[in-house]
C-alpha cells in the first residue's frame, strides 16, 4: 500500500518536525544531569573552603595546610622578610604579575599585591614549573638565595613574597582567594 496522499503533507510534516524537535530537546534536557553529575559533588565543594587558625604560627615560621588537594603555605613573615620583599623593583622580576586571586588579573607583583596583611603570606605551595612542593627557607636552614623557597626538583628559587627569581619556573607562586575572618583566622577558598 502506498504512503498517504500529500494533501495532508504539510500538516504531517509540521507534526513530525515538532515532535522530533521536542523529543530532541527532551533528550538534551535530561542529558544535562548526566553531565553535571561528574562535576564536584556538594561534599567536595564543602571542602573547597578551609579555615586556618593562625594563632599557633610564630614569626618566621610556615605551616602547610591541605586545601583542595594541594599544599597551602601559611607563612608569618618577619619584618626583615617583609622589608626585603618590598625593596625589590617589580620591573626586574622574571614574572611581573601578582597572580593573586583576590585582585584583577593584570595587577603587578608588588609586595602589597601579594598579601592582604603584610605579616601573613598565603600561597599555593605548588611550583609553577612542574608541580613539586618547594621547600621553605628559614634563617636556621636557608634554602636558595632569596630567603623564600627553593624547589629541589629543578632549582627554582622564590623570594620572601613567593615570586620567582631564578630557575626554570615561569610564574610566581599563586595566591589563592582568601579573607580574614578575624585577626587569627582566615578562610581560604
Amino acid at each position: 500500500m502506498a504512503a498517504t496522499t500529500h494533501d495532508a503533507g504539510t500538516r504531517r510534516d509540521f507534526l513530525y518536525v515538532a515532535s522530533g524537535a521536542m523529543g530532541a530537546v527532551g533528550v538534551a534536557a535530561i542529558a544535562w544531569p548526566f553531565v553535571d553529575q561528574m562535576n564536584p559533588s556538594t561534599a567536595a565543594l564543602a571542602l573547597a573552603s578551609t579555615e586556618v587558625d593562625l594563632s599557633t604560627v610564630q614569626p618566621g615560621q610556615q605551616v602547610i595546610v591541605k586545601w583542595r588537594g594541594h599544599p597551602l603555605f601559611v607563612r608569618r613573615r618577619t619584618p626583615a622578610e617583609i622589608a626585603s620583599a618590598k625593596a625589590v623593583d617589580v620591573n626586574s622580576l622574571p614574572d611581573p604579575l601578582a597572580y593573586n586571586d583576590n585582585l584583577p588579573d593584570n595587577s603587578p607583583a608588588t609586595d602589597a599585591n601579594r598579601a592582604i596583611k603584610p605579616e601573613w603570606l598565603i600561597l599555593i605551595g605548588v611550583c609553577t614549573h612542574l608541580g613539586c612542593t618547594p621547600t621553605v627557607s628559614t634563617p636556621q636552614m636557608p634554602e636558595g638565595d632569596y630567603g623564600g623557597w627553593l624547589c629541589h626538583c629543578h632549582g627554582s628559587q622564590y623570594d620572601t613574597a613567593g615570586r620567582i627569581r631564578k630557575g626554570p619556573a615561569p610564574r610566581n607562586l599563586q595566591v589563592p582567594p582568601y579573607s580574614f575572618l578575624s585577626a587569627t583566622r582566615i578562610k581560604v577558598g
Binding site: M1, G23, P33, F34, D36, Q37, S41, T42
Partner: protein, 418 residues
C-alpha cells in the same frame, strides 16, 4: 521478512560508508523499510520499550558506578552520598532503581503477549528461547544489583538465595562457599556481584541483538496469528511503527516518571534503608516484586531441595513451550478454550506474586497463603505441561480470517477487539 535489500544510498557519504561497512543498509532494512504487519496493537510496542529500558539502565548504571564503592564498609554510605552530594545523584539513582521495576513490568507484558498470540510457535521458537535466556540474564542482573546498596534486604536476600545452592546434594555447600568467596555473604561476595552486575547488561544487549535478528528472519507475528500473505498485509516500519512506538514509549515514560518523581520508594522495601547487619535478620525477607512469584513457589514446598527444583523448573519450563503447545492456531483470539486457561494463568501468577510478598505463615479469609501458593504453583505447571498439549488437540478454534489485510481493511468498523 528478510530478503534482498532495497537500500539506495542518497548521499556520497552514505555510499562511502555503506560500501565499507553496511551499517546504513542494515538500519534501512531493519528500521526503515522492514515490512511489518499492519494490525499490531499496543501489546506489540513493548519490544521497543524494553530496548529503551535496557539503554536507560546501562546509562544510569555506568554513571552510578562512577560514584559507587563496592566495599562492605563503604557501599551503603556511597549510595547515600550519591543521593545527597552528587549533582542529580538522587535522580540517576531513582531512575536506575525504578527503571529496573519498569524493565520487569515491560518484560512480563512482553512475555504474556507472546503467550497469548502464540508468538513462540513455529517458525519463531528460537526467538522465544533467546527471550527466555534474556529473562534469565535479567533476573541474575537484578539479583546482583539489589545486593549492591548493602542494606538489610540486600544482604539477607543474597544470603537466602545463595543458600539455595547448598540444597544441591554432595557439592551444594562447596558451591555456596565458592559463590560467597567466604563462609557467608560478605565483602568478597559484594565485589564479585558488582563485577557481574556491570558485565551482564552488555551480554543482555548482545543477546537482544540476536533476539531481534532472529525475529527479522520470519518477521513479526500479529494479533490474528496468521501469516503475512501479501504486501497488502504489511506497512513499512517507518513511519508507521516508529511513530506508534514513539507515542507509546512516551506514555510508558510518563508512567515511569510518576514513580521516579513522586513515589520513588514505592517498589522498594524500607528495610533496605538500614545498613546490612549480619547479626540481625529482618522479620520478613522479601525480594523485589518481580521475583516474588518464584519466591512463593520456593517457599510453598516444605522440602529445601524440592523447592529449589520446583522454582528453577518453572523457569526452565518456559524453554519447552514451543513444543508443549500442540495447537495449529497461534492466537488466543481464535482459541476460546485456551483463552480461559490463559487468563487463569495470569491470575495464578498475580496470586503467586502476592503470596511471595507476605510472611510464610500469613492467612487471608482463614486460608493459609502457603496453600494458595501451592495451588497456584500446581496450576502453573499444569498450564504448561498438561493444558497446553491437551487443549491444542481437543479445542475447536474459531474461523481464521482470510488475511490480515482483509481483517483490517475489509471491515468498515475499527479493528476487532480481543
Amino acid at each position: 521478512m528478510s530478503g534482498p535489500s532495497t537500500y539506495n544510498p542518497k548521499s556520497g557519504f552514505e555510499r562511502w560508508l555503506d560500501t565499507r561497512l553496511p551499517l546504513p543498509r542494515l538500519l534501512h532494512d531493519t528500521i526503515h523499510t522492514f515490512p511489518t504487519p499492519r494490525n499490531l496493537n499496543i501489546w506489540y510496542t513493548f519490544g521497543g520499550i524494553l530496548t529503551f529500558c535496557l539503554a536507560i539502565q546501562i546509562v544510569t548504571g555506568i554513571v552510578l558506578a562512577m560514584h559507587y564503592v563496592a566495599n562492605a564498609t563503604l557501599a551503603f554510605d556511597s549510595v547515600e552520598s550519591i543521593m545527597r552530594d552528587v549533582n542529580y545523584g538522587w535522580l540517576i539513582r531513582y531512575m536506575h532503581s525504578n527503571g529496573a521495576s519498569m524493565f520487569f513490568l515491560a518484560v512480563y507484558i512482553h512475555m504474556f503477549r507472546g503467550l497469548y498470540y502464540g508468538s513462540y510457535k513455529a517458525p519463531r521458537e528460537l526467538i522465544w528461547i533467546i527471550g527466555v535466556l534474556i529473562y534469565l540474564l535479567m533476573m541474575a542482573t537484578a539479583f546482583f544489583g539489589y545486593v549492591l546498596p548493602w542494606g538489610q534486604m540486600s544482604f539477607w536476600g543474597a544470603t537466602v538465595i545463595t543458600n539455595l545452592f547448598s540444597a544441591i546434594p554432595v557439592v551444594g555447600n562447596h558451591i555456596a562457599t565458592w559463590l560467597w568467596g567466604d563462609f557467608a555473604v560478605g565483602d568478597a561476595t559484594l565485589n564479585r556481584f558488582f563485577s557481574l552486575h556491570y558485565l551482564l547488561p552488555f551480554i543482555i544487549a548482545a543477546v537482544v541483538g540476536l533476539h531481534i535478528w532472529a525475529l527479522h528472519v520470519p518477521g513479526n507475528n500479529n494479533p490474528l496469528g496468521i501469516d503475512v500473505k501479501s504486501p497488502q498485509d504489511t506497512v513499512p516500519f517507518h513511519p508507521y511503527y516508529t511513530v506508534k512506538d514513539a507515542f507509546y514509549l512516551v506514555l510508558f515514560v510518563i508512567f515511569y516518571a510518576l514513580f521516579v518523581f513522586y513515589w520513588p520508594d514505592f517498589f522498594g522495601n524500607p528495610d533496605n534503608y538500614q545498613q546490612a547487619n549480619p547479626l540481625v535478620t529482618p522479620p520478613d525477607i522479601v525480594p523485589e516484586w518481580y521475583l516474588l512469584p518464584f519466591y512463593a513457589m520456593l517457599r510453598s514446598i516444605p522440602n529445601k531441595l524440592l523447592g529449589v527444583i520446583v522454582m528453577f523448573g518453572a523457569i526452565a519450563t518456559l524453554v519447552f513451550i514451543p513444543w508443549l503447545d500442540t495447537s495449529r492456531v497461534r492466537s488466543c483470539r481464535f482459541r476460546p478454550l485456551m483463552k480461559q486457561f490463559f487468563w487463569a494463568f495470569l491470575v495464578a501468577c498475580v496470586l503467586l506474586g502476592y503470596c511471595g510478598g507476605q510472611s510464610v505463615d500469613a492467612a487471608r479469609f482463614g486460608i493459609p497463603l502457603v496453600w494458595v501458593a501451592r495451588i497456584a504453583s500446581i496450576y502453573y505447571y499444569v498450564f504448561f505441561w498438561l493444558i497446553m498439549p491437551i487443549v491444542g488437540l481437543i479445542e475447536t478454534p474459531k474461523k481464521l480470517p482470510a488475511s490480515i489485510a482483509q481483517s483490517v481493511l475489509g471491515d468498515t468498523a475499527a479493528a476487532p477487539a480481543e
